[in-house]
């Protein structure tokens, strides 16, 4: 059984992520741990002020609303889990800064499911992007990033560029989501048309050990321009990617592109990095 985290930030109830977790549970039972965070990162805000008490009154109203919202979310989460027979845990009374807390939680978890659209959307686009990037950078377990209307994938795309990072992501995906290894799987290499696929024989051998329905594809068009369009046309698929390393795909998720990626995200993305 795997320990899967789902994040509740303040008043937001992540229906999409819970529905996805439910489908995972139907494939193979999970322990679903709800992390109940405040809608405002009070600990982060206080840290900007040496005399922390000066800022406390500014957040008093939000804090009191949060207490009620969090309690309601916990009740709704517990009802959801009980009605669908999912084993669950509740982690609440979070005092640390949001990203630091998530980092600590992910060390002792197998998977974190996040909504790229809704995670801290109440803080505005710029701050949301910052929180999402930081969380993805610091997470100590793989993250499954879901778009707003995530559907259960029927195929898998493994982003491969020969790097240790991309292979690490592929391995973690195999270990954590073995039920997906029976689906149609495409090993996708994005690089210069003139270049050979790096370690072609080795990736073929490794992939053949673990996946039953394999194909290989070299994306030769300008990946930054056409990648999201190409992947949307593949239908209900799941993308597996190492990220934040020195890889072509890391450029797609580099800060400069992240806003576009979040806006354009159409498929769930499984991200694991070293």
């Amino acid at each position: 059984m795997k320990k899967v985290l789902v994040v509740f930030d303040g008043a937001h109830f992540p229906t999409t992520t819970l529905d996805f977790a439910l489908k995972l549970n139907e494939e193979s039972p999970i322990l679903l741990t709800g992390i109940f965070l405040p809608s405002v990162d009070y600990a982060e805000a206080m840290s900007y002020y040496y005399y922390g008490t000066a800022v406390a009154p500014l957040y008093m109203d939000e804090y009191e609303d949060d207490v009620v919202a969090i309690k309601n979310n916990i009740d709704e989460f517990e009802d959801f889990c009980r009605s669908h027979h999912i084993r669950y845990r509740v982690h609440k009374d979070i005092k640390k800064k949001v990203v630091k807390e998530l980092q600590s939680e992910t060390r002792y978890a197998d998977l974190l499911i996040l909504s790229s659209t809704h995670f801290y959307e109440n803080l505005g686009e710029m701050t949301q992007e910052e929180y999402l990037t930081d969380t993805l950078h610091k997470a100590e377990c793989p993250v499954l990033l879901l778009p707003a209307d995530a559907t259960m994938p029927r195929s898998v795309i493994l982003a491969y560029d020969g790097s240790a990072s991309s292979m690490h992501a592929i391995k973690q995906f195999i270990y954590l989501m073995p039920q997906f290894t029976d689906m149609e799987t495409l090993v996708m290499y994005a690089g210069d048309e003139a270049e050979d696929v790096p370690f072609a024989d080795l990736i073929k051998e490794y992939a053949a050990h673990h996946f039953n329905k394999l194909g290989y594809y070299k994306l030769t068009a300008d990946p930054k321009k056409y990648f999201m369009t190409w992947i949307e046309n593949k239908g209900a698929s799941l993308l597996v990617s190492g990220s934040f390393g020195r890889s072509l795909f890391s450029e797609l998720f580099h800060k400069n592109f992240l806003r576009d990626v979040i806006k354009e995200q159409k498929v769930p993305i499984f991200i694991a990095h070293l």
């Binding site: 059984m1 795997k2 320990k3 322990l31 741990t33 845990r89 600590s104 939680e105 060390r107 002792y108 978890a109 197998d110 100590e140 377990c141 240790a164 292979m167 690490h168 391995k171 270990y175 954590l176 370690f199 080795l202 990736i203 051998e205 490794y206 050990h209 673990h210 070293l274």
Partner: protein, 273 residues
């Protein structure tokens, strides 16, 4: 099916690594892939040639008449057949240390004899080349024991670090067959406290994956306590995060500490973040 690399000495037969590699492969319904580490490299070119010249008149007629590589491959093939284990021998099965490390990107586990050496003088275990592989491999490394009957106990060494928890997770993902074994989380805390670091989160994860878990927090000198704990447990496999900023990584690295890998006889599963 896991891809398990068994690393062998091109010149000297490593029965222990083959035995343990085959055991794990059968347990996980996997195949072992034989990789033979080449002795020859630019650094030891002269030394290698002199050593081969000095051993030219060995009585082993098979070695004298057959190329060394072919003999190694034949031995590996026969050993796997005798142990009823699926195996593969890639076309480019002879590898330098650097090539092996590259190949670990595409493997789930490396099994190696900690005494495997590329030097001609006797080295303490783990040898330099084995330490290099442990440090740079892109998958977990399993140091094969000298002998074993079965593995019925798993000891996770833990110090709260990212590396030690990562090692625990990777072992669980690779070998779910051990979920009903005797499981112990051994925290050797240099500060001597009896508290388990992040106890609630750790226990929540452990209880999700294992039916019964014991926790041990021996106090006193960490090296002594760790070795003393492991020595009587002959049927245990030890899991360590290493080469991160963790206490246990210092035990492997520091020759002054008498590395665990050179002292205890248990198989040791090492990986790092």
């Amino acid at each position: 099916m896991k891809r398990i690399l068994v690393v062998l000495d091109q010149e000297k037969w490593n029965k222990d690594a083959v035995d343990f590699g085959c055991y794990l492969a059968k347990l996980s319904k996997s195949r072992v892939t034989g990789i033979f580490l080449q002795h020859f490299n630019e650094d030891n070119f002269v030394e290698t040639i002199k050593h081969r010249e000095n051993n030219h008149n060995r009585s082993d007629k098979q070695t004298a008449t057959q190329p060394l590589e072919a003999l190694s491959v034949k031995r590996f093939r026969e050993a796997c057949i005798c142990r009823d284990t699926s195996f593969s021998i890639p076309q480019n099965c002879m590898a330098t240390k650097e090539e092996l490390i590259e190949e670990t990107r595409f493997a789930d586990l490396v099994v190696i004899d900690p005494a495997l050496s590329l030097k001609h003088e006797i080295e303490p275990s783990p040898t330099k080349v084995v330490k290099d592989i442990m440090q740079h491999a892109h998958c977990p490394v399993l140091l094969a024991p000298e002998s074993f009957n079965e593995i019925s106990e798993v000891i996770f060494t833990y110090d709260g670090s990212q590396s030690s928890v990562y090692a625990i997770k990777q072992f669980n993902y690779l070998f779910p067959q051990f979920i009903n074994s005797k499981i112990t989380v051994l925290e050797v805390n240099p500060s001597g406290t009896k508290e388990i670091i992040e106890e609630q989160k750790l226990m929540e994860w452990m209880n999700t994956h294992y039916a019964h878990v014991n926790y041990a927090v021996p106090s006193g000198n960490p090296v002594d306590k760790l070795i003393k704990y492991l020595l009587p447990r002959h049927k245990a496999i030890v899991i360590m995060g290493a080469y991160g900023r963790s206490f246990f990584s210092n035990l492997i690295r520091s020759s002054a500490a008498g590395p665990i890998a050179g002292t205890v006889i248990n198989p040791i599963f090492i990986t790092h973040f």
